[in-house]
Symmetry: C2
Subunit: 157 residues, 2 copies
DNA sequence: CGTGAAAAAATAGCGTT
DNA sequence: AACGCTATTTTTTCACG
């Protein structure tokens, strides 16, 4: 039984909020004056909007885009996870949360159940972290693709 | 012939720079006073360091971490790319640069040549964007895993 | 790199629609 | 409920030691 789910606006967003998000996606250190100009608002209104977007969770935080080569941890990998049984997303999240090398995790369509993006100091460290993922009761096997070189990185616009 | 490559410091970074990077990774909107406190520096010295990290490319930029559900573009996919022949990384970069739906691209170990992270409005839009990737002369075939739900996202610490 | 002064921005309060 | 305006505080910025 298919259900047409029309939920275009679950977080109560409008065009102004979108303009603000586009602005801070491009530059998270933009001033409220700049954000306001991008959204057609005064600086104080822009601040109130941005604070609200953070409070409601639409914006999770602000981070730097760092060249991995510049960091101590610069070994990256995409890891496909195949599960045993049918763990719920919540169970998987809980299991992966304690492994700090797992930076991002998503359930995906296709043969694999989940895709991880992992970051470690070096190959031995990565191998050990993948071992920890595997040792999770929920995980059957993994398939890793280690990043050799980064071709492209851009803000999500 | 294996070569032991000791290149611990390709970008001329020290512990202070690392502390600064850790700070702005956690919060890109931190003030120079906060960054300075994290690195044991005065605000003006912290600004000079941060400006230099951006100028040298160690920090590529600052962005917001946005809940994809809050955006108009909220269909994500990981796409494995298998190439024809042996294109250089530079050729691949050039080819993918014009496809705005490709947010990240890396060459990887394993069967696939590259891994893409793509972002589109919806499934039809994603399909069309993947078609553009495929139509690139360098690409033989692709294998996509569409993101169903996001389990985990954290700053790269 | 730190200091200190001047300029710019962030913040909080207030009146308006 | 959300905006713009204004006054105050904080931060940024830059020349100098």
């Amino acid at each position: 039984m298919a259900v047409i789910c029309t939920r275009p606006d679950p977080l109560g967003m409008d065009d102004i909020d979108e303009a603000i998000i586009r602005c801070v996606l491009r530059n998270a250190r933009a001033t409220y004056a700049q954000i306001g100009k991008a959204a057609g608002l005064s600086p104080s209104a822009a601040k109130r909007r941005l604070d609200r977007l953070v409070a409601t969770g639409a914006i999770r935080g602000f981070s730097a885009l760092v060249d991995p080569q510049a960091m101590a941890w610069h070994t990256e990998a995409f890891v496909e996870v195949y599960c045993t049984g049918n763990p719920t997303p919540a169970e998987l999240t809980k299991a992966l949360h304690d492994i700090p090398e797992v930076i991002e995790a998503c359930t995906v369509s296709g043969a694999a159940d989940a895709m991880l993006y992992m970051l470690a100091r070096d190959i031995p460290h990565l191998e050990q972290a993948i071992q920890r993922v595997r040792s999770t009761a929920l995980v059957d096997r993994t398939e890793s693709a280690i990043v050799l070189s980064r071709l492209l990185t851009r803000p999500r616009l």
